[in-house]
Symmetry: C2
Subunit: 149 residues, 2 copies
């Protein structure tokens, strides 16, 4: 990793301007990553990146995240083949989130359940509860065989 990130400016206007990218990592060292399909704009997933994952992503053009459950760098699609090539990277006004527009290889699936998007369920109110309905149930791969090890 050769890419380094300077410390964020204290000045709000400087943070919101053009210039050096100075990501504002949270107390656990992470920024939020929103991932959409570069073709049709569909929201595919939300993940997190530490400085190393962010640097690897920018340097290689392939999306890397930080897995909070496994406490390690996670090259998305390394097991399933569904690698994500970054077409464009953006950041938001306060630099604590990034937006990756990606092309997905393999089965064109970004969810570990085998679906294209992790956001396959809608939420609606039913009396004093909220319930989820499945909006997309198309499996692009069989998670049981792909993740069996």
């Amino acid at each position: 990793m050769t890419l380094t990130f300077p410390a964020p400016a204290a000045d709000k206007h400087e943070l919101e301007a053009a210039g050096d990218f100075t990501p504002r990592f949270d107390a656990t060292g992470l920024v939020t990553a929103v991932v959409t399909d570069a073709g049709d704009g569909e929201l595919l997933m939300v993940a997190h990146m530490n400085a190393q994952a962010l640097a690897l992503t920018i340097e290689t053009g392939i999306a890397h995240y930080y897995s909070r459950s496994r406490s390690k760098i996670w090259k998305k699609g390394e097991t399933s083949g569904n690698l994500q090539t970054v077409v464009e990277l953006r950041t938001d006004c306060d630099q604590d989130a990034v937006w990756l527009k990606v092309r997905v290889a393999g089965d064109d699936a970004s969810c570990h359940t085998g679906r294209r998007s992790c956001f396959y369920r809608t939420v609606r109110q039913v009396e004093n509860k909220a319930v989820m309905d499945i909006a997309d149930d198309t499996l692009h791969f069989d998670p049981e065989s792909v993740y069996a090890s």
Copy 2:
């Protein structure tokens, strides 16, 4: 607030199925909210919601967030007039993030800088640094006059 959220299931497959929405709030009581335009799908902003903000959003159909900097519920657009009407709400496989497809009122701007989207800057590598370029500099309102108090 009449809407309540049951505790998340310990079983992973149950979390990923249809049924009661059981958001997995993090250690600070928040889920991530990704907000896109219901018309053209543009990513507008990323914010956070506690249980109260999530319940208010579902009950009223108007997006409410939790402001981490101000430590309070934040009805988006209350000052600027850029209220967000929720057309569809989704959640992801592990229920720690929600996706709001919204219609923005007022000036059609969701960033406090006056721009339509908070993600108005692209990031690219230049030698061992990453730099930001402004991709959208159209101001839909004047933040200095709107937020003056």
